[in-house]
Symmetry: C2
Subunit: 172 residues, 2 copies
DNA sequence: ATCGAGACTTGCGGATTTCGCAGCAATAGC
DNA sequence: GCTATTGCTGCGAAATCCGCAAGTCTCGAT
């Protein structure tokens, strides 16, 4: 009775190699289940995962390797910025004149910028900044970001308290 | 000559147990280096990490375990939302009348909400939403979030293109 | 000055895990 | 119908993990 798990397994796995119309590899239920296991513990042994999802150890190993190779997931350590010495964080909304994408690229090149996304709405770009202290944050926003070519205006939202932060994509 | 690495190592490790004034455990350079290793590959063997940071396998094992126990870091799989079937994402800026924190808690309880932070600035809360499609996103924002007690107004920024997303806190 | 605690090292087996490879079955393609 | 491919299983061999003991060193407190 290592049962439960995903059952069936007849022709499901072929989905994992089938490309959906936009080039992104589609995932079947088993791979999803594997990802969920690794979201709980990125170091969980393959055999344990296999038991949970109803696959052999070797099969899990192959699928995990493929998921990593394809870039579907990565197994990494994530930390709480505060305990690692970064005391000030902020989200910055940015408006750009001209080429938005090149501005986003310039932001992406900055090490203090953790997250860059182009958006629809009253900002062209949202960027998350992680800094050591107020001075550092001020410097990044006022000296570096505002100096970028094409940047018309910025609006900052300094983080007061992080309430939720999950890595549970693919689960639900 | 298993040299290179972090050198010195005289009394650094005591920092790891010293609490900085706000209760957050302080990390020394060696723990930082270990975290960096695991940010590159969360499954890297302890011996390999030890070689890189200049510690024995056993010592690395102890430190990693402590870092996990203390909640300083976690080793998890992270995925690209798009390839896992979530095609619409948005950041939502929210203004609240009354208790901001309880509103943030309510948001945190929603599974579609990946990220919640209380901020200073023209929004009280920023929340990142991950949805399967437009209908789902519309439903979450207009039916669920706007219906929350205390929510006065919202402004949405639909993601057009994710340009950068790192998990490299603690590195630099 | 001495003692105790904490952190690290070395060394060591045993249990566990990883890894590569040889089959085998089912599917997709020709 | 036949073949190539893909995914899975099973199985040894190698590597890793894990707990533990003994000994060193430094710091801080008695």
């Amino acid at each position: 009775m290592h049962s439960e798990a995903v059952a069936s397994r007849s022709a499901d796995q072929r989905d994992s190699s089938r490309e959906s119309r936009h080039g992104t590899p589609h995932l079947d239920a088993v791979s999803l289940a594997i990802i969920e296991q690794l979201q709980e513990d990125g170091r969980r042994p393959y055999a344990a995962i296999g038991k949970a999802v109803g696959l052999s150890e070797a099969a899990v190993r192959q699928r995990v390797q493929k998921l990593l190779d394809q870039g579907v997931m990565q197994i990494v350590a994530v930390t709480d910025p505060l305990t690692v010495g970064f005391r000030r964080q902020a989200m910055v909304g940015i408006n750009v004149e001209g080429d938005v994408e090149s501005a986003a690229d310039a932001l992406s090149a900055m090490s203090e910028v953790e997250y860059v996304v182009m958006t629809a709405g009253s900002f062209d770009i949202l960027a998350e900044i992680v800094c050591e202290d107020d001075d550092h944050l001020l410097d990044v926003i006022n000296k570096r970001i505002r100096a970028l070519p094409g940047v018309r205006s910025t609006e900052s939202f300094v983080y007061l308290k992080l309430k939720k932060q999950t890595y549970m994509w693919g689960t639900r």
